[in-house]
Symmetry: C2
Subunit: 392 residues, 2 copies
């Protein structure tokens, strides 16, 4: 252990994400896993991917395995830009999963002690990345429309360096930010001239309601937008993208280059082929339909089994249902008993920058079948009832 004294301040601040250990324990096939935002594997387009990854050599030759450029394959950047008429392919950078957008944004903006505004709660992976760069978080509490405007305005008074947000079907709460709140957030960024990192993995998984504009559309000069193929194709490809304004592009590409040179040329090529026809439109339709049904089954089961003391709201998209247990319960402690009953969830405290939220729980409805949902929710309902009864 002699050499650990050499670790940088940055390394000293690194902590493994709590979800890692829970996922390891939850990998036991006897456990009903409401843990993570993993897509359902039976929905992965294996045939299309297998075909294209083999066929690409015939159509494009061996160069699809060569080094490519750091910004990413032009064809793929065109497809991404084409979905959104106001985006230019030159403003797109291909990255290896949207987690990399967080790391790159931290590299570009965050020095130790800098204030970073986050929703409270927010994605644990963002907290992990920004905190190793020394971010000092300002948490903005949320209701079922997103960040509370007054709290956000108060946060803006503290000279923030960056705002991190997930407007579409937020992780972990599932909340879809309302149009008014989106406009307010965009206005705040412009008025105080602070960059926004908009993280959008779930936007396409909308079950009902109209698509709302991204912050990137409302404040394009202030927004670095990230989205990913992880939830609409498959996470094991590690393929995602950033859309950014001109003033950011050179630094952004250089940051990507110094991080890992470029994302996989091969994957970019065969995914581009896959996107050529209407396949993805139909595929996203299937995903929406499937996950909506899953959500419905879970909500119905929760209505039946959960005690009335537990609050939760019904998400209109995404992968998660957020629950607030009575204050006197501790979700991390209860998880041990849940594991004993062969069911697992993600304790909500992992999503709070200040470690609060001990009584909150995130449930994922993605990789469990209907029977598992009913059984797992019933088990959890029983567990929570017992815990409430013995706590009063």
């Amino acid at each position: 252990m002699t050499l650990s004294r050499h670790f940088s301040d940055r390394a000293q601040r690194m902590k493994p994400l709590a979800i890692r250990d829970i996922l390891k324990k939850g990998a036991d096939p006897e456990i009903i896993p409401f843990i993570a935002g993993q897509p359902e594997p039976s929905l992965f387009p294996t045939q299309a991917i297998g075909y294209q990854s083999n066929h690409i050599f015939e159509s494009q030759g061996p160069e699809v395995l060569q080094y490519g450029n750091s910004q990413g394959l032009e064809k793929l950047r065109h497809w991404i830009a084409g979905r959104d008429s106001h985006v230019d392919p030159n403003n797109v950078v291909i990255i290896s999963g949207s987690q990399q957008a967080l790391d790159i944004s931290a590299k570009l903006f965050v020095m130790p002690g800098d204030k970073v505004i986050v929703a409270s709660p927010t994605y644990a992976g963002a907290l992990g990345t920004y905190s190793l760069y020394g971010a000092d978080f300002i948490g903005v509490p949320c209701d079922d429309e997103g960040m509370l405007p007054e709290a956000l305005e108060a946060a803006m008074q503290n000279d923030p360096r960056l705002i991190y947000c997930i407007p579409n079907f937020m992780n972990p709460t599932g909340v879809n930010m309302s149009l008014a709140r989106r406009e307010h957030l965009a206005r705040m960024a412009q008025q105080y001239d602070v960059p926004i990192i908009e993280d959008d993995p779930y936007g396409e998984l909308r079950f009902e309601g109209e698509r709302l504009p991204n912050i990137q559309e409302l404040a394009p000069e202030h927004t670095m937008y990230a989205s990913t193929f992880s939830k609409i194709l498959a996470p094991g490809l590690r393929l995602a993208w950033i859309v950014a304004p001109d003033w950011l592009m050179e630094k952004l590409i250089t940051a990507k280059q110094t991080s890992d040179l470029q994302s996989a040329t091969y994957t970019q090529h065969f995914v581009s082929e896959l996107l050529e026809d209407d396949f993805i439109v139909h595929h996203i339709g299937r995903l929406r339909h499937y996950y909506k049904k899953q959500r419905d089954v879970m909500v119905t089961a929760m209505k039946e089994s959960f005690p009335s003391e537990i609050n939760y709201s019904i998400p209109t998209g995404g992968m998660f249902i957020w629950c607030e247990l009575p204050e006197q319960l501790n979700a991390t402690q209860l998880l041990e008993q849940a594991f004993d009953k062969k069911v697992a969830y993600m304790p909500g405290s992992a999503f709070f920058h200040d470690g609060s939220g001990h009584h909150t729980v995130r449930l994922s409805f993605t990789i469990v079948n209907e029977t598992q949902i009913k059984e797992g929710i019933s088990l959890l309902g029983g567990l929570f009832k017992e815990a409430i009864a013995s706590s009063v």
Copy 2:
């Protein structure tokens, strides 16, 4: 451009690599490219990769497209460890190209102002990454056995935080560090208790001579070793690995996780399948044979065409021949004339931390055919002769 004021000190230090613009200009098919360390695409195992990337779904199911763990696929880590009897799979982390090892090592060790020892010259991508983290480089001059021991010992007096090195067929000089120098470097790291980052993309491309031990074998507790599938399979896969001692593992995996969660599950799976039989052994044999012949053609051409004032040494492996022109010549300026003659190389100054080496040139013999090598070297020989004649 208002928001660029928000860039971190780190972002202010970012500079695009010089090779990027040269590669762009050199992509013109009329230019003979001695520029980069790109493998020859006709040697990429497209059939094997195409087959495995399709077949993997039959043998392993859709889970090969799911999230995986941050350390990397166990089967692949076993294969890597199995090549080297003293390595444990638990000490291996899969990464997305060996550039990522540099970024991760910088994250783990380098704070602004920290001294980092590098060979002078060394890999430009390492200089780019460490410098954005604020490294203060100490360059150690080299001869044809590697870093000069006395200069290295002097550098060790300056409280270095890290030593970065490429012992096998160094980029850019092609020098293979001698056993005595390897032992000396390992001893220095141990004596002064300083971590070494050993970058080994070229070790398998050995044309002659015995394999020499890696620094990782000589000073395992002090070495974070990185190697890659880029040169032995294909760079477009973005698959590489780190071998590190126990004390480093937890921070290393966390650093990988916060950077991009994990490397592509899919790619790790189909590459693991590919590695199951003797394929890779034979494939590396073919690569050695091919690149050795390329080197021979280039050296023969250089003997014929290059003026005697130019010094170069003959590499015993790797992808590069390093040339020193007479001091009064400037290789960056001459590159413009080379482009006019439809041939291009990499000016050596990009590989010096202090921007020196204006009269040095790196030639790559990998993606050019024999005719191109003969023609390109003849053109360069003429250009350099003219330049020498007009400079005296």
